[in-house]
Structure formats: C-alpha cells, structure tokens
C-alpha cells in the first residue's frame, strides 16, 4: 500500500477544481498553478514502487485474514489471486514516464501562464485535468478505468482546443469529438468483450486467465476485442487513419496547449500499446500490424508535412510521424526494441514540446503562422532561433542530443531482430524529417523579412526562454547519458518478453 500513488491523480484534479474557485483572481491562480505544477513532477520521485488497491481490497492471497471465512470454492480457485479493487501499479518505467509528463506539464503551464493575459479561466483547469487523466492512464492496471480516463482526456483535448482562440478551432474540435464518440464506444465494446470472455477487467488477471488456459486463447471473440481495442488505440494516439485530425488538433491549439496535447498522445500510445502487447502478444499478427501501421504513419505524415505551408501543421504532422518510431519499437517485440521504443517515447515527448513552444515564440511576436508570409525572424530574436534550431537537430537525431541515442537503439534492434529494411526506412525518414524542418526553419528565420510582416514590439516572456532552456538541458542530459532513462525502462521491457 502506498498512499502517494493515488495522489498523482488526485492532486491535479483537486488543483483544477480549486483554480475554478479563484476565477478572475489572476495572481492567486498563477501562484497556486505554479506551486502545484512544481509538485507534479516531484511526487513520483519520492514514491516507492508498488501496487495501490482502491478501497484497500488486496487480492485474497495477500489478505489471509479475510480469506479464512470463505468457502473452498473461492479460495482454491483462481479467484484467490484476482484483484477485486481498481489497481494502480507504479514501477520504474511508470516513474520515469510520470516525471517526464510532470516536467512537460510544468513547463507548458508555466509558459501558458506567462503568455496569456488572463491566466484564470478554463484553460489552466483543462490542462490540470488532462494531466490527471494522463497520469491515471499511465498508472492504471484496470482496463475499464483506462476507458473512463480515455473519455475524460478526449473531452479535455477538445476543451483545450476550444479554449484557445485560434481560427477554426470549433470546427476541428467538433470533428475530433464526433470521431472520438465513434472510437470510444468501440473501445468500450472491446473492453466488454474482454470482460465477457475472461470475466475480469484487471489487466494482470486477464493475462493470467489467458496464460493459464482458463480462457481459450484462440477464441474469435478475443480476436474481435483485439481489433476494437486497436481501433481505440489508433484514435487516441493519432496513428493513421486519424493522423490528419490529430495534427489538425495540434495546429488549432495554442503552442503550449499543443505541447501538452502531443505529450498526451505519446503517453497514451505507449500506455495502451503496452496493454495490447501484454494481452494480445500471442496473436502473431498483432505485432506485425503494429509495425505496419507505424511505418504507414511515418511515411504518410512526414510526406504530408512536406506539403504544408502552416508551420503549426508542419510540426503537427512531424509529431505524428515520430510516433511511428515508438510503434516500431513496441511492435518488434524484443527486449531491446521495446526499451528503445519507450526511450524514443520519452525523447519525443520532450523534443516535440520543445519544438511547439519554440515555434510558439513566432506566433507570440507576429500572430502569423503561414510560412509564406514570414521571414527574417532571426534578426529579431537570435537566442530563441538557436534554441529552435537545436530542437530541430534533436528531432532529426543529431549525435549529442537524445533522439540520436534512441533512434540508434531502434535501428540496432531492428537489425538484430532480422528486419534491416525497417532500419533503412527509419534512417531515410529521419533525413526527410530534418529536410522538412530545415525548409520551414529557413523560410521563417533566415529568408529576408517580407515588407508586409508586422512584428509586435514585446519581449518574449522569461518563462518561455526558461522552458526552452530546460528542454534543451533535458535533451543534452538524455543524449549524453541514455542509461539514466533506459535503466528505468529495461525492467518493464524484460517483463514483457
């Protein structure tokens, strides 16, 4: 029993509700939000690994006092090891995911508080609510609990888009919500089928039932459940056929909102992807499907990024394209590739947030996001330009920075898994990614300034620069010492094989 585990979900929810009480009191809201945002990444650092059972209902096998009075038909069967309560599991991989999510949330919230004029309102509320549900999705070991927070996070994402005053946000929000309202009941149907076959919603118990033969693993119902859960996963992560709407969502949010939204997609991809691998790994094509859809995601979204003229859309598509690397890592199914995929997930969440907030400074200075109308920003803010360039280099996988390490590990693991073709595709696409980034970078920063462009005369807030520098430091640390992250991820990857 560990009381700190549920606090990771409860604190952001409580903070979101408290912020609503102080509506229109901007200073108070700012102070509370920043304090809670600092607490968020620090809770997981002090939490011990273990399980948390809500209501205290541990499995009977761990609770002999309760088991005494029960009939043999319960204590002698599999019911003895089943988890009766909603269970949260906190391990080393969850720890590093929570810390990274907390840091990204802290920096996104800090940036949003300093860039928006009125910090009080629904925006901060939605950000905290999103972080809470994301934490729950990472921690939960209960597939129905996952569905509930899946719905909450979908509504939260829509809310973040609606709350940012960007042209066309309402239309995109409604579109995303309609697609989401098809995808989430289908995910629920998948959960229901799993429940119907195994009589359980706890993931550990479902795996136990399938492994020990309580349930026929070749049952066609399980196959259908696998398909439906994969459909929900594709929607939540923004893999094809949902890559267009996902990148549109990023481009319709404010930059700090988008930085948080992409972190949500990355971590949802990892959390639900791991569940799919854990439960359905015995279907041989499940892994092949994950790899296939990831390759399609990479190719489609990176080529679509090449054709865009709005820099927010470009980064949106690049962010979706990078998800493909994680999917390949998870789908290859060896310990090394899963570690590499999870490491890539951490790197990508950091780098894409870095890119979104970095490019957000242009929006702050010019209120313009069409790269055809931009130019010559380098002269205006040379320091920020350098930071943005470094973020692009990090995304492309240039040596001292973090994505280099994870992409190298991915390519090595694809070679050792006997599919060198994937390695070649990954190298080619990372070159194209860099090219796309450089095209946008050149157009925005280095080209002579068009005469029509008006630059607003206000300095970039210190908080934004601070966030960018923190992201850069994280990139460099993870790039030089990748074992900091991989040593945390290794146990999870080994347990999956």
């Amino acid at each position: 029993m560990n009381p700190l585990i549920p606090l990771m979900v409860i604190i952001p929810i409580a903070c979101a509700l408290i912020l609503n009480l102080f509506h229109t009191k901007d200073r108070t809201v700012k102070i509370i939000a920043i304090i809670i945002a600092i607490i968020l990444p620090s809770i997981p650092l002090f939490t011990n690994y273990g399980y948390h059972y809500f209501g205290g209902y541990a499995p009977l096998i761990e609770n002999p006092a309760l088991a005494q009075g029960l009939p043999v038909s319960i204590t002698a069967s599999a019911l003895n090891v089943f988890h009766p309560a909603i269970t949260y599991y906190f391990g080393s991989a969850q720890q590093i995911f929570m810390v990274v999510l907390g840091i990204i949330a802290f920096l996104a919230i800090l940036t949003s508080l300093s860039e928006t004029r009125k910090p009080s309102g629904v925006y901060a509320f939605l950000m905290f609510m999103g972080v809470a549900s994301m934490s729950a999705i990472i921690l939960t070991d209960d597939i129905f609990n996952l569905y509930v927070f899946f719905e909450i996070i979908a509504v939260t994402q829509v809310g973040i888009v609606v709350a940012s005053k960007v042209k066309g946000n309402m239309e995109t929000a409604l579109k995303y919500m309609i697609i989401g309202s098809i995808a989430s009941p289908l995910l629920l149907l998948g959960v229901a089928l799993l429940l119907g076959v195994t009589g359980n919603v706890n993931i550990t118990d479902i795996i136990y039932s399938i492994k020990t033969g309580l349930v026929n693993p070749q049952s066609p119902v399980l196959l259908m459940a696998c398909g439906l859960i994969i459909f929900g996963w594709l929607y939540a992560a923004g893999l094809p056929p949902f890559h267009t709407i996902k990148s549109e969502i990023y481009s319709r949010a404010l930059p700090h909102g988008a930085a948080l939204l992409q972190a949500f997609s990355v971590f949802t991809l990892v959390a639900i992807g791991l569940i799919i691998i854990k439960i359905f790994a015995f279907f041989p094509f499940a892994n092949v499907f994950i790899v296939g859809i990831s390759v399609i995601a990479m190719i489609l979204s990176i080529t679509m990024a090449l054709m865009q003229t709005d820099f927010k859309r470009i980064i949106g598509f690049l962010a979706v394209g990078e998800l493909g690397y994680i999917g390949i890592g998870l789908g290859l199914g060896t310990a090394a590739s899963i570690t590499a995929g999870l490491f890539q997930a951490i790197n990508e969440a950091i780098i894409t947030a870095f890119l979104f907030i970095g490019f957000g400074t242009i929006l702050y200075k010019t209120r313009e996001s069409d790269i055809r109308k931009l130019g010559g920003i380098m002269v205006e803010m040379p320091k920020v330009t350098l930071l943005v360039l470094l973020s692009g280099l990090a995304m492309a996988g240039v040596p001292p920075l973090n994505a280099f390490q994870s992409k190298l590990m991915l390519i090595q693991s694809s070679l050792s898994a006997g599919v060198p073709e994937l390695g070649i595709i990954m190298i080619l696409l990372s070159i194209v990614t860099f090219m796309t980034f450089m095209k946008a970078f050149y157009a925005i920063y280095m080209r002579p300034k068009p005469s029509t462009l008006k630059i607003i005369d206000s300095n970039i807030p210190k908080a934004t620069i601070f966030s960018l520098v923190v992201f850069l430091i994280l990139c460099i640390i993870l790039g030089l010492f990748p074992q900091i992250a991989t040593s945390y991820l290794q146990p999870l990857a080994n347990s999956l094989i």
């Binding site: 029960l70 239309e171 989401g180 098809i182 149907l189 429940l195 119907g196 003229t309 709005d310 157009a443």
Partner: protein
C-alpha cells in the same frame, strides 16, 4: 419463442450500433449525426448489460437466508452493470458538449450541415499550391 432472450438482446444491441454508425457516417445533418452517436453508445451499453444477464437468475442482491454458493450460481453478474452506470453518464455529458459546440457553430455558419461546417474548413487549411516555393 424461437430465440433466446439474451441472444435477441445481443442482436438488438448490434442493430442499434449499426444504425448509429450509419447515421454518424452518412447523414449530413449534425444533430442527426449526434443522435447516431447516442445510439452507438446505447447499443454498447445494452451489449454490456446483456453479458451480465443470467437466464432464470435473480437480481444481484444478497438477501439473508441465501448461501454464497447458491447466490454465485443464480445471481446475474453485477460488474458489467457497474461499468454501464459510468458509461451512461459519460455518454450524456459528451453529448452535451457536442450539442453546445453545434449551437456555437450554427451561430457562426448559419447551418447545421456537416458538409458545410466541417468540409469547408478542410479546404481552408489545405494549401492550393502544394510545392510552394520558399
């Protein structure tokens, strides 16, 4: 009767999901689209409740005088019902959010046709000249 009530209920759920999917994908009116989404959610809820049903069973209330074994063999399975309660409420609240978005968009566009509201914006963002020189 020819078919088992549980099976019939499964078929009803399936029919509702299919009607809902049809409406959500092919009807142009946004309000009817949202009604289609409601039917999908209803169908899934009905499906889950049907799973917990036990033919000839009793409601899952443990009354004095029952033994655990007898109860376990005769009561319906309550876990799916608990899930459905949550799911009904979630469905109603997402519905409310969608309807309010539709009202806002109606004020902006003067129409509730999906092809007009959701299609137009797609054209707006896609650039006319893909290989734009920069």
């Amino acid at each position: 009767m020819i078919i088992d009530p549980q099976l019939g209920s499964f078929f009803t759920a399936g029919a509702l999901i299919i009607i809902g999917l049809f409406a959500a994908l092919f009807i142009d009116n946004l309000i009817k689209k949202v009604i289609g989404l409601l039917f999908i959610a209803d169908g899934v809820n009905l499906f889950i409740v049907t799973m917990g049903y036990k033919a000839g069973g009793i409601v899952y209330v443990f009354l004095p005088g029952m033994t655990v074994d007898w109860f376990a063999q005769n009561a319906s399975y309550p876990l799916p019902f608990a899930l459905v309660l949550t799911s009904i409420v979630i469905g109603a609240s997402t519905l409310a959010v969608m309807l309010s978005l539709i009202i806002i968009l109606y004020k902006k566009h003067g129409s509730i046709k999906a092809s007009k509201i959701l299609g137009e914006k797609g054209n707006q963002t896609q650039s006319k000249t893909p290989g734009d020189k920069i």
